[in-house]
């Protein structure tokens, strides 16, 4: 916290370019030779280094996709693990170039923090986890319960709203990190633990006796999670936004990691524009024309990243649900590349 604040203060005071981004982010990243990505260091499925220090997760793959588009090398990323409460300051101060840390898009965050949300790479909602032994079947039965929650999140606010709206009493126990909140829940300090439903699935697996805990059916909020950039650099904003759309488009047209080289010879004009064999859509972003082909080759399309990190290929086994493509009943929809 202190370190981040000092950097912000220094940047603000000395007028360093970091806090006042002006179409320089891409050049800075190229000169530095790597992308600084603000990530969650403790959330399975979204951002978590494994025992060998290799980062995995949906948000991690998003940063790798950005690095692939810029450098043709998904490993030119430096991941900066951030807590929920320090993340915005780190982005504002220029410590990271992009914040891909399961961050909920809200109007006040979009307007008063000097930041811009780019796209939604995971549609989430807040849920509750309780011990089976409590015999609770619905969040509406949680009147008077003690609930552990992480600080500096929309979760904290939704929780208070939900209990107020349903005229229930609440005892919140707030912790600085998700780790501490979960540990306190595991030690029976609280009756329930609340966070985004995707987070619950991951956190549940980290508890001592996974099967003693259930996730309640209620989803009490909308949590559109997506990558965030600083205000003021429209080129970088476009690059980050279209990196996500390129991954969604690739899934829509069946371009996968394994078939991307063959698909480059495809006659389908949509695929040709996506992979850069027709038009100059990459150049318009300040990237090479095969930017999207690089993303798919190194990281895969959106569906592949989803299944690998949070879906059937992972321990979380979360279904696509509303994160399916728009033509399969979900909300993932990319504007056309043309």
């Amino acid at each position: 916290m202190k370190r981040v604040f000092v950097r912000l203060a220094l940047a603000a005071v000395l007028g360093a370019t970091a806090s006042v981004a002006s179409a320089q982010t891409l050049n800075t990243i190229k000169q530095r030779g790597s992308l600084n990505c603000g990530a969650n260091g403790t959330l399975a499925g979204f951002g978590l280094p494994d025992s060998q220090g290799r980062w995995t997760g949906l948000d991690v793959d998003f940063c790798k996709a950005l690095a692939a588009a810029i450098f043709n090398d998904p490993n030119k990323v430096k991941f900066v693990p951030l807590t929920a409460k320090d993340r915005f300051t780190a982005l504002q101060s220029g410590e990271v170039d992009v914040l891909a840390r399961n961050t909920t898009w809200t109007s006040s965050r979009d307007t008063s923090l000097g930041l811009n949300f780019t796209a939604v790479n995971y549609y989430d909602g807040q849920g509750f986890m309780v011990r089976k032994s409590l015999k609770v079947n619905s969040a509406l039965e949680l009147n008077d319960a003690a609930i552990c929650v992480q600080q500096g999140t929309t979760t904290e606010l939704n929780l208070a709203d939900y209990f107020r709206a349903n005229k229930m009493k609440l005892k919140t126990v707030t912790f600085a990190t998700a780790d501490e909140a979960l540990k306190a829940y595991d030690a029976s300090r609280c009756d329930a633990y609340t966070t985004d439903a995707s987070g619950l699935a991951g956190e549940r697996l980290r508890l001592a006796n996974t099967n003693d805990h259930i996730i309640l059916p209620e989803i009490i909020s909308k949590e559109p999670l997506g990558p965030v950039v600083r205000h003021g650099d429209d080129q970088w904003f476009d690059i980050v936004k279209w990196t996500h759309y390129a991954m969604v488009t690739a899934e829509e047209f069946g371009v996968t990691r394994s078939n991307v080289d063959d698909q480059a010879k495809s006659d389908n004009p949509e695929i040709k524009r996506l992979l850069g064999t027709e038009g100059k859509h990459g150049e318009a972003l300040g990237l090479p024309n095969d930017w999207a082909a690089r993303i798919v080759k190194h990281v895969g399309n959106y569906g592949e990243a989803f299944e690998r990190n949070v879906g059937q290929g992972s321990a979380l086994k979360i279904g696509r649900g509303i994160n399916a493509l728009w033509n399969k009943g979900g909300l993932q929809y990319a504007p056309p590349i043309r």
């Binding site: 806090s19 609440l170 501490e180």
Partner: protein, 393 residues
């Protein structure tokens, strides 16, 4: 002649050390003021250009989050300003109680370390060396986890004599509800305190005059306890208690002491007491041995010697470093954030900062608060120090 004079005075002006000193200081002040002005205006400029909200308008906005311990009324619809006061009071509560308890424990350990009893002195020594050589954050996490692990779940609560409950959700005590007649009891207590003080003054004067000591402590205690007790009986116990009850999940009613609060208070007191013990030991050892020996040769027993001869002189040495320990305890209370106790740092530079995104304003306010608390503590201790240090001859 006159030309020589002006020449000399001009030279004198340049080489006059007082004037030169004044000019240098004025220049330095101007340079600092310029830098500060530049920094502030630059910061405002950059924040505006980066479209980051600034100013203190957020103070009156709705906070929307819940706080587990509130000494004043607070709900999720209260403002950020209200949340600030809640956090500040929580900090002052833990710091104030911590200072009192750490002082008591520290003096006991410090004196015990100099005990002629081998076992007592060694135990005190082990305590000091063990506690002050471990990082406070680790100790806090240890106490917090210990509290949660040792205490039972709500349904297996320990029963505290008198109708309280102790479990891993905290300590729940019966809450007294006072009737109007209780005013008589309060009045009796006030009268008793006045009488006790008066008696002490009287006893001291008499001892000065005649050399006759009086049992001040026993008489004062009898008054302070006896009078209100008599008033209680006469008015027919005008106080009821609401007892905590076990609900479906938690305990309802009663006075609630959070486990986070217990762990933080415990950790801070135990840690700071180790340092205070060393300060006390150093203070006592700084008093010349001859003082105690002189007191013994006058026939004073070890207790009165310590109390009347050694400690008053030791206090001169003890008070200044003791002040530092008080300041450390207050500042260390901000480690509360690690164990979920809602102090000023946790609420204000945690949740409020994150929700408003106004890092500079929030951190500046918080620093100003800690600075104020520390300066007030220093001021009070300096006043006390002036009183005890007058005893020097």
């Amino acid at each position: 002649m006159s030309a020589v004079d002006t020449g000399r005075s001009r030279t004198a002006l340049i080489y006059n050390p007082r004037i030169r000193g004044f000019v240098y200081q004025a220049l330095l002040c101007a340079a600092i003021a310029f830098l500060a002005w530049g920094a502030i205006s630059n910061a405002i400029d950059n924040l505006a250009r980066a479209k980051i909200a600034s100013g203190f308008g957020f103070w009156h906005n709705t906070a929307g989050f819940d706080i587990s311990q509130t000494l004043i009324e607070y709900s999720t619809t209260s403002t950020y300003g209200r949340a600030f006061w809640v956090g500040l009071l929580n900090t002052l509560l833990v710091a104030g109680l911590g200072i009192v308890l750490a002082t008591v424990l520290g003096f006991i350990i410090g004196i015990a370390r100099l005990s002629t009893n081998w076992l007592v002195a060694r135990l005190a020594g082990v305590y000091v060396e063990l506690i002050r050589n471990l990082p406070l954050l680790l100790q806090l996490l240890f106490w917090y986890n210990a509290v949660l692990k040792v205490l039972p779940e709500v349904r297996d609560s320990f029963l505290v004599p008198g109708g309280g409950l102790l479990n891993n959700r905290g300590l729940f005590l019966p809450q007294p509800v006072f009737h109007e007649r209780f005013l008589a009891v309060a009045a009796a207590l006030a009268v008793a305190i006045v009488l006790a003080v008066a008696y002490r003054v009287f006893a001291k004067r008499r001892q000065m005059r005649t050399g006759q000591p009086a049992p001040v402590l026993i008489v004062a205690a009898a008054m302070v306890i006896g009078l209100p007790l008599a008033a209680l009986i006469v008015t027919g116990f005008p106080v009821d208690f609401t007892y905590p009850e076990r609900g479906r999940f938690n305990v309802r009613g009663g006075i609630e002491v959070l486990p986070e609060f217990m762990a933080l208070l415990f950790g801070l007191v135990i840690y700071t007491a180790a340092f205070i013990a060393e300060v006390v030991r150093a203070g006592i050892q700084a008093v010349a041995k001859g003082q105690a020996e002189a007191a013994y040769s006058l026939g004073l027993r070890p207790g009165p010697t310590l109390r009347l001869v050694v400690m008053p002189q030791a206090m001169r040495v003890i008070v200044p470093p003791l002040t530092s320990q008080y300041l450390n305890l207050t500042k260390n209370s901000s480690l509360a954030v690690a164990i979920g106790y809602p102090d000023l740092v946790q609420i204000f530079t945690g949740t409020v900062l994150n929700q408003t995104g106004q890092a500079i304003e929030v951190v500046v306010i918080t620093m100003a608060v800690y600075l104020t608390i520390s300066l007030v503590t220093s001021l009070l201790m300096n006043l006390y120090n002036r009183r005890v240090s007058l005893a020097e001859r």
